[in-house]
Amino acid sequence: MVGQVDFKKLEEEKKKLTRRLYLQAIVVAVVLIAVRLLLISRENIDAWGVRLAIVGIYILVWYLFLDYVYKRWRDINYKGERDPINRFVHRLYQNKLATLGLFVVFSVAILALFAPEIALYGSDYESEWKEFALMPPSREHPFGTVSSGEDLFSLICYGSQISLMLGLGVEVIVAVIGIALGVVSGYYGGAIDKIIHYFTDVIMSFPFLILVIVLVGALRANPALNERIIDFSKSLGMDAHLLMVFLALTVFGWPGIFRQVRGQVFSIKERDYVAAAKVVGASRSSILFRHIAINTLGPVIVVMTLGIAGVILTEAGLSFLGFGADITTPSWGRLLSEGNSFVTQSKYLYLALFPGIALFLTILGFTTLGDGIRDAIDPRLKL
């Protein structure tokens, strides 16, 4: 061994530096978030161009900050070349399509986070706008205006919030349910597994779209109930029918993750480290979640990413059919449906074109990203 290096001291040093780094990072993050909440808003900065520039700079600052923190962290805690996270990132970047997907997803996320700032007009409807109904794209209205006079570009910006919130919200809840049930079902097997699995099969066999259509239709036919639901959802700040869609997607969306996790648990529970935990006396819940569930996450992320694409698509479809968002909610699907009525007249093509492109790009972005993550996690599974 070359010289006697005091490894314990080295570890202490590393820990001290890391802690200091975390502290610095937290302080800067808090400051940045405060700046965002207090300073960067439509009210404070009127001119759109200036606003856009400031948002751009703000994002750049965040990127540089995170990049710095990450690089510093890597410097302090050098992990070597064979780190699986490193290789995963490397493989993902090599996949050009997936990188593009990542870029699209990232852009939509920025759009959603800064929607009020990026949009040209506010989200509150002003009755004077009615005069400007159905105007083609121009300098004031880059995407034109819709039949109510609202600026389409701004609507698309706000619409991104709907899509992402719905997508993430549904998938996170669905993941929690799916993982919990999948782990329990896979680990215990036997009767418990049979019951849960049967129940899941029932859920899966439901004709989802028809169910939602029936639900929403039945609701509309029953004004009293309808009123109550509308009030309830207003208190949540959501569109009533959109809430229905959200609930329906959540209730029926977990079988996919359930099956994925359950299958993985069957093989994970046989592994030696699970046996080792049992021999040491780990509690049942500790084994289920800290040992088993944690090892199912990789493929679950893939299913979730693809799931978000599915949610966005389904919501768009339902809103298009008129069973989702109502006139007050700028869902891309609803916008598409409005544009659809005008699609035969070429001068109004833009009404359907822009929401359509937004949907198309976003869904494609999530799908290619999901595929890319799957290939990057385990290239052997490549087909």
Binding site: E81, R82, R87, H90, R91
Partner: protein, 351 residues
């Protein structure tokens, strides 16, 4: 009395794998000779390149592997006839076209791998797979081929052969499957068989029988065998000569009695000393310090130098060459082989 007629000469094989982690320098100049009718064991630990050597000679490397340099000279007349080569002298395997290589594989050289399940097609019966090879080898009718297949099954002691003939691989045990693979490899009567860890997946008692069987068949069919293994016990039981490999080179070759009694390369000595043997009781097993080198960034010069007690400056700079020491068929590559011999004589043998 075995006359030492040479069957294959391997000279300076260099094979590299191009992976996402870097270039793996798997073989860095592998050289050895193989004589007709003998069993040569290639021994080494994981990563030493013994399997890669077989794959390089058979030209079965995966797409990321390339054999960059070297010569493989194959002196088999049967194969020459098959390839319609009238020229004098051996076949240069590495220079053959892929289409010619197809004629060499199976008939000139065969391969038995560790896991019989991957070499047997699960959707065809064992008999069908045997017959396929037989009919490719000789132009025979179905009936004649079936007769030969049944005979081969009897040779590998799969009884009753008519029953086994109709079975699918999954209906047989591991030992039986491995025997099928052996019989398939013999069906084409090759001059040389590569056996890559053929018994690692089998139980000890089955392993003994399969190894013995391979020896008997080798005698009967006059085939040479290159046995690739990490198990020194198997080497002692079945081989005639032994080649010890380390990090992509053959560091010592000798006949087995000499190698076990008088290993001259420091790595061979360390390897033999580390194996617990039933014939003596030791307090502690001596082992080789350090770990197997990283083949993407291998050590310079003699690749064993970081772990070698005899290493000096020259070992770090220049790769030693395989030279005959003590007798004309004991080869060692080491700059300090004289010192090693001195120390060994002081102790009077191994351990």
């Amino acid at each position: 009395m075995k006359d030492k007629e040479i069957l294959m000469e391997v000279k300076d094989l260099v094979t590299r794998f191009y992976t996402e982690d870097g270039v793996v320098k798997a073989l860095e100049g592998v050289s050895f000779n193989l004589y007709k009718g003998e069993t040569l064991a290639l021994v080494g630990e994981t990563g030493c390149g013994k399997s890669v050597t077989a794959l390089s000679i058979l030209r079965l490397l995966s797409i990321s592997g390339k054999t960059l340099k070297g010569e493989v000279l194959f002196y088999d007349d049967e194969t020459k006839k098959r390839l319609d080569m009238s020229k004098e002298g051996p076949i240069e395997i590495l220079k053959l076209e892929q289409s010619d290589m197809l004629k060499v594989r199976g008939f000139g050289m065969a391969l038995i791998t560790q896991d019989p399940m991957t070499s047997l097609n699960p959707v065809y019966t064992v008999g069908d797979q045997l017959m396929e090879v037989i009919k490719l080898h000789k132009k025979l009718s179905d009936d004649e081929a079936k007769k030969i297949a049944i005979e081969l099954l009897e040779d590998v002691e799969l009884t009753p052969p008519e029953d086994i003939f109709k079975k699918y691989p999954h209906q047989l045990s591991g030992g039986q499957r491995q025997r099928i693979v052996i019989s398939i490899s013999l069906a084409a009567e090759p001059a040389l068989i590569f056996a890559d860890e053929p018994t690692t997946a089998l139980d000890v008692t089955i392993q003994a029988r399969v190894l013995e069987l391979m020896q008997e068949l080798k005698e009967e069919f006059q085939t040479s065998l290159i046995l690739i293994t990490h198990n020194l016990g198997i080497v002692a039981e079945t081989s005639d000569r032994v080649g010890v490999m380390y990090a992509g080179r053959v560091v010592e070759i000798a006949d087995k009695y000499t190698l076990f009694k008088r290993p001259l390369h420091p790595y061979s000595q360390g390897l033999i000393a580390a194996v617990p043997v039933i014939t003596e009781k030791r307090e502690a097993l001596s082992y080789i310090a350090g770990t197997v080198p990283n083949l993407i960034h291998p050590p310079s010069g003699c690749r064993f130098h970081p772990r070698c007690p005899y290493a000096t400056e020259i070992c770090k700079e220049k790769v030693p060459e395989l030279k005959a020491v003590e007798t004309d068929d004991h080869f060692v590559e080491c700059w300090h082989v004289d010192e090693v011999i001195k120390d060994l004589d002081k102790k009077g043998g191994v351990c």
